[in-house]
Point group: D2
Chain length 250, copies 4
């Protein structure tokens, strides 16, 4: 069954900065969607900040199995009501792939319950990603490591809850190491954070990185759906006989 992915892009740098526009003529989101659509089992469409409801209407999310999120300059412009909506869909089962500077997005901080802070340096240095568990679905088809010639550095401490699994570690030429691929479960939704993807480098054009993206959305496919809630199961419907006792403030 076709996996329906919505690729969300902030689409700010692409319009303001010639450098980024030249690297990503269809937008970073366009490049990511193309990489995903190279797999016949995936159908990726895009949504951007400047669209009504940021392109993430109820209808769009209802038809989304996995959402990918790239943002950097305009995290604060994302409407809290849309963040609420995305969070609820994740808890119900939708997968979420958070990319690079999306570590400081409202939706990632919301789901983590954390500040998601980190140390950074924009110097176009070499990054090498190591696969920690080659049997992990997100690592399928990858070599033992991926070299990215020019990337921004992210360093520890990374302010996140302890991940379910660390899939990638990064080594940086400038001397840092980082937990670059980490997985979480939130309700029915699987969440994966993937570090690389600074806007001034051609990272999302690199074949191994595109393989990670395809693996990640497949891994995050919903296994089931559940609409949470806080229902009462009253005495009359209790499964074992009980006698009501005591008062109530209700």
């Amino acid at each position: 069954m076709t996996l329906r992915v919505t690729v969300w892009g902030e689409n700010v740098h692409e319009k303001k900065h010639k450098l980024v526009a030249e690297l990503y003529p269809k937008g970073m989101h366009g490049c990511i969607a193309d990489a995903l659509n190279a797999d016949p089992g995936i159908r990726a469409t895009t949504a951007t900040l400047d669209q009504p409801e940021h392109g993430l209407t109820e209808a769009v999310l209802a038809q989304t199995d996995v959402l990918t999120w790239w943002g950097h300059a305009a995290h604060g412009q994302v409407d809290d009501r849309i963040v609420d909506r995305v969070q609820q869909r994740v808890l119900q089962g939708m997968g979420l792939i958070v990319l690079h500077s999306g570590h400081h997005s409202k939706i990632f901080k919301r789901l983590m319950g954390h500040n998601c802070d980190l140390v950074w340096r924009e110097a176009g240095e070499k990054e090498r990603l190591w696969v920690c568990n080659p049997a992990h679905p997100i690592a399928q088809g990858l070599p033992a490591w991926i070299d990215i010639e020019h990337e921004e550095m992210y360093g520890e401490p990374f302010g996140i809850p302890n991940p379910d699994e660390v899939v990638f570690l990064s080594w940086f030429a400038g001397g840092e190491a980082f937990r670059s691929g980490v997985t979480y479960k939130r309700g029915g939704g699987k969440v994966f954070y993937f570090r690389p993807g600074h806007e001034t480098y051609p990272t999302y054009h690199q074949a191994e990185v595109q393989q990670v993206l395809r693996n990640a959305v497949k891994w995050a496919r919903p296994d089931g759906q559940f609409a949470w809630g806080a229902p009462e199961r009253p005495v009359a419907k209790s499964l074992e006989p009980i006698v009501e006792h005591g008062g109530s403030v209700h």
Copy 2:
């Protein structure tokens, strides 16, 4: 070294409902603070919703090692700025004990990234808490199980991230089971959710429950403090020699 605990109470039911006022003449927070102060190593004070800044000023939190939280009727009245402040202190290292209906408090949902939904029934039925790991610090001095004669029922599914450790399971006379004591780490802060404590029953007067509260605040004592942030480590300060490459949008 004395452990400084701030016991936060919503203090709404105690003022509105005679039943609750009679059970807890000093307020539920007063009863909890007394239980903690029975240990000479703990110095517990109280704070309530109706105080300025809900009693949780910067100065108060700076002197708080562990915060306990009971709320039910007025979660929505808690100022988001105070929630932000408490969250930051937890990430820095402060312990947090969330009690009973505090599962739906803003601060717990914030730290969990989840809805924290559950099923419920207010019938004063019997609850039995089983200790899952008798070697856990929160279980010290407890018997293999604790019977509470009259409690509200909380049932699964409980909408929380997978806990670090499940310390207690509950069995209810009406037929349900529940993860009643669960631990988390958020930054430097240890978080413990403990299920029992409905306002219309004398739960916090029970000796074993008081023992859990004392154990929990001791377990949550900060091991260290860290002020998170997202500093740049520029090329000039990189630990290994690198040559800057590529452009920037900054």
Copy 3:
């Protein structure tokens, strides 16, 4: 692609005890295999203790995606070399479903690093399994709870490492609660422990239990394979230029 499951059964009680033989004329393993084969995407075969190499030859395991394990009376008769072999296959990627009294099997204790002790009572009392996360793949197609009229009781403390996820909790008529469905990852292999299935009750004939078994083997399907090892990456092949320094005892 067809999922290849090997259903391992101790097959001791079935031969010694009329009661068990009547409940499971094809053996417990036969009943479990039939339940799995009801799904056209699964092809389940069986293996038993009394076969050469317990039916778990290198060739059989090489063709096994997921292994299920039921044992009780003869854990000690399982050859350590076969346990080693199964462990290595799990680490490489094979899924493992451990059933009921398999909690004390050599392979489960080996993978857990724990004693896997628990409290028990054989009284044919009612067990009710609660689903903790209805969006979990192992819970698909199930109601909110499953009643099993007659089962052995297992109670806490259950001596296991903290699970990745608790999928089911049990409520017992005699007053206990238990973590009855727990998941782990070991290398590439997914491990699920499922509590019900005492030999003197018809548990594996029950439709909801069979649904759990089918869900579990599908969930445990290998995502990838990896042959672990401890290779040297010598100086001559180091990815960054380094100069060898210091002595060696080799």
Copy 4:
């Protein structure tokens, strides 16, 4: 209360290789014990492979709060009965700190349920350890990173179960990254693996490394003790009234 630590050393290289003997004239275990005893709250003694029962008699372990373990050349010579004994003590509550090549020790593999494989290179290259969570007790008093001028390299994939927390990451001059400080819980026992400490370098003489060792043993102090077991709770002692039903093979 004084923390009682037993420092276990294989003590093979020290006797065979002049290089190691000169670096560690009191043995590696002697150096580690001295580092621990620099804290007045710790009383560290040593035990070695060549002693009767490897120095780990029932009496010694009964008086040990935390055990540290360094081995490399003679893992296979450690008696399985002593491994069983140490494992049981850990499950009961004793802390365990596994150092460097101890990753392949019987006791670490036993507790992990894994092969604990990794990639390695002995070139005396630079290792830099990054602190992932500066508020963690094992990171107290440390700078943001620790440089070790000459160390053996360990690289991913590291064959371990997903840790509870990754406290340190290593960056190596030769281009690798590694999860160098990881925590686990097994029963009542806290387990910490710490990567540095190759026998041909003076690692355990370095002040920051000694600080990690002191922090680690304090972190691993038992919170409680529990003697596991698998007791029956028979019908006559069930907490709720039940009627026995069905047969038994016992």
